[in-house]
C-alpha cells in the first residue's frame, strides 16, 4: 500500500503502430516488447513518480490508434490532466496526422490539459523521416511540450511522463487547475484526502494499490 499526494490521469494518443503501448510498458514495467499486441479499445497502466518532494500516482490510459476507435477514445479525453501525443520519427505520415489528433484533443479535453508531443523510435536514427527540428517547431506552434524517446532503449521515457506530471503539478500550485473538479483529471491522494475539507463524495478515500 503506497500513499500519494495526487493522482493524475493521462491519455496516450497517436496513430497505430507508433509505439504507444510500448512507451507505457517501458514506463510501468521497465521492459520492451518488440512485437506488441495491437491495442483493442484501451489498455491501462499506473505508476507512482516523484515530482519535487511529492509522490504522484499516474493513471494512464493507452488507446487504440485506428480511426475507427477514435469516437470511443474521445470519451477518455474528458477527465485527463495530461495527454501524450505520439508519432513515429521513421514514418512521416504519423507526423502528418498530428494536427487531426490535436484537434480532437483540444475539442474534447479540458482547456488546461498538458500535452506532451513525443517523437518515438529515436533509436532508429538511420530510418529517420521527421527531423527533431520539425517536431520542435510543431510543438512550439501549438503550445506543446516536446521530447524524442525510444521505448526500446528507454531513452527519455521516464522524462516524458515525469515532465508532464511536473507541469500539471505547477498548474496546481499556481491555481490554474482545480483539484476538486473531477474533470480536471486530478484527484487528491489518500494522504491528502483526510486533511482536505472537500465534498467527500468526490474524493476517493480508498487506499490506492499499485
Amino acid at each position: 500500500m503506497a500513499s500519494y499526494a495526487y493522482l493524475f490521469k493521462y491519455i496516450i494518443i497517436g496513430d497505430t503502430g507508433v509505439g504507444k503501448s510500448c512507451l507505457l510498458l517501458q514506463f510501468t514495467d521497465n521492459r520492451f516488447q518488440p512485437a506488441h499486441d495491437l491495442t483493442i479499445g484501451v489498455e491501462f497502466g499506473a505508476r507512482i513518480v516523484n515530482v519535487g518532494n511529492k509522490r504522484i500516482k499516474l493513471q494512464i490510459w493507452d488507446t487504440a490508434g485506428q480511426e475507427s476507435f477514435r469516437s470511443i477514445t474521445r470519451s477518455y479525453y474528458r477527465g485527463a490532466a495530461g495527454a501524450l501525443l505520439v508519432y513515429d520519427i521513421t514514418r512521416r505520415e504519423t507526423f502528418d496526422h498530428l494536427a487531426t489528433w490535436l484537434e480532437d484533443a483540444r475539442k474534447y479535453s479540458n482547456a488546461n490539459i498538458t500535452i506532451m508531443l513525443i517523437g518515438n523510435k529515436c533509436d532508429l536514427e538511420n530510418k529517420r523521416a521527421v527531423s527533431r527540428e520539425e517536431g520542435e517547431a510543431f510543438a512550439r506552434e501549438n503550445g506543446l511540450f516536446f521530447i524524442e524517446t525510444s521505448a526500446k532503449t528507454a531513452a527519455n521515457v521516464e522524462e516524458a511522463f515525469v515532465n508532464t506530471a511536473a507541469d500539471i503539478h505547477d498548474k496546481i500550485q499556481v491555481g490554474v487547475l482545480d483539484v476538486t473538479n473531477e474533470s480536471s483529471g486530478i484527484k487528491l491522494g489518500p494522504t491528502q484526502a483526510g486533511m482536505a475539507s472537500l465534498s467527500s463524495g468526490s474524493v476517493d478515500s480508498r487506499r490506492g494499490c499499485c
Binding site: G17, Q33, I40, F44, A46, S71, S75
Partner: protein
C-alpha cells in the same frame, strides 16, 4: 498438413463419437471434443453452418464446397487478380511475369491473354479520371497497408502466423472481405478473429493429388461418376488447394454475428457527446446534480446501446445479467466506476483471444461455436468470467479492478 490416412482416422473417430448427428456433435463440442484428436476444422465448419448436416455427406457436401469455393474464387478474381491485370496491360506482360507468377492462384494466370486493350490516356498512374484503374488501385493500396500492418502483429508469439504464405493469405482474405463489406471495411481486431480459423483449417489440410478420384479442376463440372462416399467428401472438404477459400467462407460465417461488434455508430457517439456536455453543465449548476447525472447516465446507456451493438452487449452483461445474478458485486463495480466496455469491448471483439493462451482459446471457441452458430453464449461467457474473479474484485479499488479485468488472471487446474 495431414496425410489422407490420418484424416480418415480422425474422421472415423469424429463419426463414431458424434453418431453422425449434428446435435450430438454440438454436445461433444461443449464437453469433450479436443483439438489434435479429431477434425476441429470440420466440426467448426458444421457448427458455423458452412456445412449443413452430418447425414448424406457424399450427396450434399461436394456441391456446397464447390459453390462456396467458386464464389470466393470469383471475388478474388474480381478484387485482386483483375485489378492487377488492369495495371499490367498486354504490352507490359513480359515485364510483369515475375509479379504474376507470385500470385497464389496459378490457374488464373492462364486467363490473362483475354485482357482487353486499354486506353492509355485514362489508363496511367497520373490520370485523374474517376474510372482509371489506377485511382482504385491507390485506394486499395491504402487499405492493404492498413491490413498488412495489423496482420504482421497477429498473435506475435504464434510462429505459424509469421511466414509469407500465412501472411499473404490472411491479408488477401481480409482485403476481399473488406471489398465485399465496404460499409464496415477493415477494423482492428478482425485479423485476430480470422487467424485462429485459418490455423485450424490449415493444420488439417490434406494433399489429395495421389488419391484415385482427384481431379485437376475441382471447381469445374462435377464428375459424372457416382456420388462420392462420405469419406471422400470429407477429404474434399480438407483439400489443401482451398485453404484460403474455406477460411474466407468460415470467416464470413463468423462475421455474420461478429461484424456488428465492429460497428461504431457516429450518430450514437454524437448523442453521447451532447449528453456529456449536458451532464457537465448540470454538474456546474450544483444541487440538482445528483439526480440529473443519474438520469442522464441511464439515458446515455439506452441511447448508446440502441445504436452501437458492442456497447449494447457490454451493457447487457453488466446492467442486465450481472445485476440480476449478483447485485452486490454489481453494486461494487458500479460504485468504483468500472465501465463494462473498458474490458468488454476487447473480450467480445476478439472472443477472448487476449485473455487465454492459444490452446485454451481453441477449446473455448469450439464450445462457443458448438453451442450455436449465432454465438448466443457470448454474454454468458463474459458473465462467467466476471464471476470467476469476484473474490479478487470485491473490495478492490478502481485500479485494481481494471488491472484484473484488462489482464485477466490465468486459469489454474
Amino acid at each position: 498438413m495431414l496425410t489422407p490416412d490420418e484424416a480418415r482416422t480422425r474422421w472415423s473417430k469424429l463419426r463414431e463419437s458424434s453418431l453422425l448427428s449434428l446435435p450430438t456433435l454440438r454436445t461433444l463440442g461443449q464437453t469433450t471434443l479436443t483439438p489434435k484428436q479429431t477434425l476441429t476444422s470440420i466440426a467448426w465448419m458444421l457448427y458455423l453452418e458452412y456445412l449443413p448436416e452430418l447425414n448424406d455427406i457424399g450427396q450434399i457436401w461436394p456441391d456446397i464446397l464447390r459453390k462456396e469455393r467458386t464464389h470466393y474464387q470469383h471475388l478474388r478474381h474480381k478484387y485482386i487478380t483483375v485489378p492487377f491485370q488492369m495495371l499490367h496491360p498486354v504490352g507490359d506482360r513480359e515485364s510483369s511475369d515475375m509479379a504474376v507468377s507470385h500470385m497464389p492462384n496459378e490457374e488464373l494466370r492462364g486467363k490473362r491473354a483475354g485482357t482487353p486493350v486499354v486506353d492509355l490516356s485514362v489508363h496511367n498512374p497520373l490520370s485523374l479520371e474517376e474510372d482509371s484503374p489506377w485511382q482504385q488501385h491507390f485506394q486499395d493500396e491504402e487499405l492493404k497497408v492498413l491490413i498488412r500492418q495489423d496482420v504482421r502483429r497477429t498473435f506475435p508469439e504464434q510462429a505459424c502466423f509469421h511466414n509469407p504464405r500465412a501472411q499473404t493469405m490472411l491479408e488477401d482474405i481480409l482485403f476481399v472481405y473488406c471489398k465485399v463489406h465496404q460499409g464496415v471495411s477493415y477494423r482492428q481486431g478482425m485479423h485476430e478473429l480470422l487467424a485462429p480459423l485459418w490455423k485450424v483449417i490449415d493444420e488439417e489440410r490434406v494433399d489429395l493429388s495421389h488419391t484415385e478420384w482427384w481431379t485437376q479442376d475441382p471447381l469445374g463440372t462435377p464428375n459424372t461418376r457416382s456420388t462420392p462416399s462420405a469419406e471422400e467428401a470429407v477429404l474434399q472438404a480438407l483439400d489443401v488447394r482451398f485453404t484460403e477459400h474455406d477460411t474466407f467462407t468460415l470467416f464470413c460465417r463468423l462475421m455474420r454475428t461478429a461484424q456488428p461488434w465492429f460497428e461504431i455508430n457516429e450518430v450514437a457517439q454524437n448523442a453521447s457527446a451532447r449528453l456529456q456536455r449536458r451532464g457537465a453543465a448540470s454538474s456546474r449548476a450544483g444541487d440538482r446534480q445528483g439526480r440529473m447525472v443519474e438520469s442522464l447516465k441511464h439515458l446515455k446507456i439506452a441511447e448508446l446501446s440502441r445504436a452501437t451493438p458492442i456497447l449494447a452487449c457490454c451493457n447487457n452483461v453488466y446492467h442486465g445479467l450481472l445485476k440480476t445474478v449478483d447485485p452486490e458485486y454489481y453494486q461494487h463495480l458500479e460504485s468504483v466506476g468500472v465501465e463494462p466496455q473498458l474490458f468488454g469491448m476487447r473480450w467480445i471483439r476478439l472472443l477472448w483471444g487476449r485473455e487465454f493462451p492459444f490452446e485454451e482459446l481453441m477449446v473455448l471457441w469450439t464450445a462457443l461455436f458448438a453451442d450455436d452458430a449465432d454465438l448466443s453464449a457470448v454474454e454468458y461467457v463474459c458473465l462467467a468470467m466476471l464471476l470467476r474473479v469476484r473474490h479478487l474484485l470485491m473490495g478492490a479499488d478502481y485500479n485494481t479492478c481494471l488491472q484484473y479485468l484488462l489482464k485477466y488472471p490465468p486459469l489454474i487446474d
